[in-house]
Amino acid sequence: MPGSRRHRLDALDSLRHTLARLETRPLLAAPVAAPTQLLAPPPGHVHEVCADSPVAAGAALGFALAQAQGLRREGRPGLVIAQLRGEAQELGLPYGAGFAGFGLAPEAVTLIRAETIAELLWALEEALACRAVAAVIAELARPHKALDFTASRRLALRSAASGGSVFLTRYGPERTASAARYRWRVMPRPSRPAPWDARAPGGPRWQITLEKGRLSAAPADAPEGETYLVDWTEHGFVIAAPGGRKRPRSVGGAALPRALPAALGHRLSQAG
């Protein structure tokens, strides 16, 4: 019966809309603008940044910080890093003098040292509710029972509502169920050669696998599970060739001023 078919189609359509609203992602048919920069995700999602062990905590935080600082906009300058007080010695505290390599002034980041995981989750939601916070990075040295699917779902809804992004850094091979839209696996790789000294370590180079989620709507552009070998440079992410030959694929990325990190926010505000 055509009438009932039309009815069913309408129901399907409304269901699709409801799902899209629930899932906080655009309709399947809706066109998505291609990312302008390499590995640049849209704002307002939950990301998991997984590393194999806490020894790689530097690379995990580096990648999260690199992504987070790219999400800063005019009127949205805030970055928050949240940690559990008891895990500081294991992971190490974020070091302000090292932020210069990410185009950030030490003052630009707020550090939250929560006592319990419940306080940490509360602080994450509170920070996301603030419309001046561009991204929140939560560092967890080990899996916590309180950070389950429901908790990550709450974070996903919050971040979709406010437009701030969440990066949860996790360590270890196991993957728990979570409502994160993207899951990245970050592995440190032998660094790119230092300019004048072949025996010295150079700038950071990471092997990044997008285990979950797509950066572009067209599957051919950025399929799920693709692995990138990238260098983090003053120009943002650059695809690295292991032989040392570099093929810059960064589009329209403003160079991050190294000497004057505080000027970054200003430049962004003019560009935006």
């Binding site: 790689a56 990648f63 070091y95 090292g98 939250i112 603030c130 419309r131 010295a200 950071p204």
Partner: protein, 493 residues
């Protein structure tokens, strides 16, 4: 030492030895005074009296408990006059079973004299000399020896001191007598040190029936915040710190304080800060027998012009961030919400200091030494961790380390970057050469010298085959210390 009335009636006096007192009164019961506890409880008791007047003091030159001074200038009309206020305060305490006496006068000295020797009176300003004349000299807050000396000379009433040669009085009885006399008569100023900061702007609410639930307290706090916001708005002010005084019927005051990073008078914000602060109370909250008054006071005031919110305002987000810092620190504590700031030193762990995110930024930033050219790690361990390092030759970059019982072989390394200890901040004595220290003689004197090589660190960046980059240092130069010790200090991105 304290005596109850029964003992006093039987002739026991303060200052007697216990043996003497027992001779007078064999059934005398003696107990040790828990002085710190009494002082603490009396301080609570004093704070609780700020529900009658904002300026409450425990006299600094008297006993730490037992006496209370209230400045009732400008508040007595709330109680229907000075006499009614005195009767109400004294009656309130008497009803609770305290033995209490009080007096009202224009000077602290005169009020003290009334309370101790003619309780229940109110003196008009200017009538001090006349009324005090009939009182005994002890009413001048003199110690027992001074009062005894006066009595030996036949000076037993205050009135007998009037008109005498001040120089003679001073020579014989000391300057304290004249000071006390002048203070009682209002010739000399006597300052009070209020127990709580005096708030210029505060609002309060009294309850006919005591309340107990924390939710009710917070609801009241929100209402009071609204009233306070109106007042502050009328005065064109904002405040950075808010105190909520919760007065319990049993003489305890619970004080909750929240701070704001920038001056505010946003009632919703203040109310929310207090509810977050209350969550941190947890089991600490105890309403006792109920709460009969709540006062909200604003502190650290500064001018705050009305702002236009909306269409034409340009929002840089900093105000929202400051609000976020307030909310986070009210719930987690100010020490849990931090901001990094560069300090003027090259010692890595002191170079970046953490301060509360809500702390005011210095108006003029201090000129800083330039950041070091050498790379700095993204993470720093709060405590450098001792590691075992194998280097091929002394002073060569490390080849292998064992950290947390796992071995790492380095394929590339750079360094050293030598960071000397900052002798200018240390307390050791300086000597130009080691020989000079050794010539100083005994090991104790030599230990007081600053030793150049012992505190110096050589930092290395080392990378293992997996691409993990570490920041490690050797403490002590190899020529100066027996065995150099190695530490891991940070991890690179």
């Amino acid at each position: 030492m304290a005596l109850d009335q029964a003992a006093q009636a039987r002739g026991v006096r303060p200052g007697q030895t216990v043996a003497e007192a027992r001779g007078l009164l064999p059934e005398l019961e003696t107990r040790a005074l828990d002085a710190p506890r009494i002082v603490r409880r009396f301080a609570d008791f004093a704070d609780w009296h700020s529900n009658a007047s904002p300026i409450v003091a425990i006299p600094a030159d008297g006993a730490p408990w037992g006496e209370l001074v209230l400045d009732i200038t400008g508040v007595s009309h709330l109680f229907g006059g000075e006499a009614a206020m005195l009767a109400s305060l004294v009656g309130r305490l008497a009803a609770l079973g305290y033995s209490v006496a009080g007096g009202v006068a224009a000077t602290v000295g005169a009020a003290w004299a009334l309370a101790h020797f003619a309780p229940g009176q109110c003196l008009a300003t200017g009538a001090e000399a006349e009324t005090l004349a009939a009182l005994p000299v002890e009413a001048l807050r003199l110690d027992m020896a001074a009062a005894g000396a006066l009595r030996q000379f036949g000076l037993s009433r205050i009135g007998q001191l009037y008109g005498r040669d001040r120089r003679a009085l001073k020579a014989r009885f000391g300057v304290a007598l004249l000071t006390r006399l002048d203070q009682a008569l209002g010739y000399a100023e006597e300052t009070l040190t209020p127990r709580q900061p005096v708030a210029e702007h505060s609002v309060e609410r009294r309850f006919a029936e005591p309340i107990g639930l924390i939710e009710d307290v917070l609801e009241t706090a929100r209402d009071l915040a609204l009233a306070l916001a109106h007042r502050l708005e009328a005065a064109g002010l904002g405040a950075q710190s808010f105190h909520l005084y919760v007065y319990r019927v049993d003489h305890q005051v619970l004080t909750l304080t929240v701070g704001a990073a920038r001056a505010t008078r946003d009632a919703a914000h203040i109310g929310r800060l207090f509810s977050y602060r209350a969550e941190r109370l947890g089991g600490e909250y105890d309403a006792g027998f109920g709460i009969d008054m709540i006062r909200l006071a604003a502190d650290r005031l500064s001018p705050l012009a009305a702002v236009q919110a909306g269409a034409f305002g340009s929002d840089d987000g900093l105000a929202s961030l400051a609000g976020l810092h307030d909310r986070l620190s009210s719930r987690l504590g100010a020490a849990a919400v931090l901001r990094a700031r560069l300090a003027n030193t090259y010692v890595p762990e002191q170079m970046v200091v953490f301060e509360p995110a809500g702390a005011p930024m210095p108006a003029a930033a201090m000129p800083l030494a330039p950041l070091p050219e050498a790379p700095r790690p993204l993470r720093l361990l709060p405590q450098p961790e001792p590691i075992t390092v194998i280097a091929e030759v002394p002073d060569a970059p490390p080849a292998r380390m064992i950290w947390r019982r796992v071995g790492y072989s380095f394929v590339r390394a750079a360094g050293p970057e030598r960071l000397g200890a900052e002798w200018q901040h240390g307390r050791g004595r300086l000597a130009l050469t080691l020989d000079a220290i050794e010539a100083a003689g005994t090991p104790e004197t030599a230990a007081r010298y600053y030793r150049e090589g012992a505190e110096t660190r050589d930092y290395y960046v080392a990378e293992d085959a997996g691409g993990r980059r570490f920041w490690l240092f050797r403490l002590g130069l190899s020529g100066f210390t027996e065995t150099p010790r190695w530490f891991l200090h940070g991890v690179f991105a």
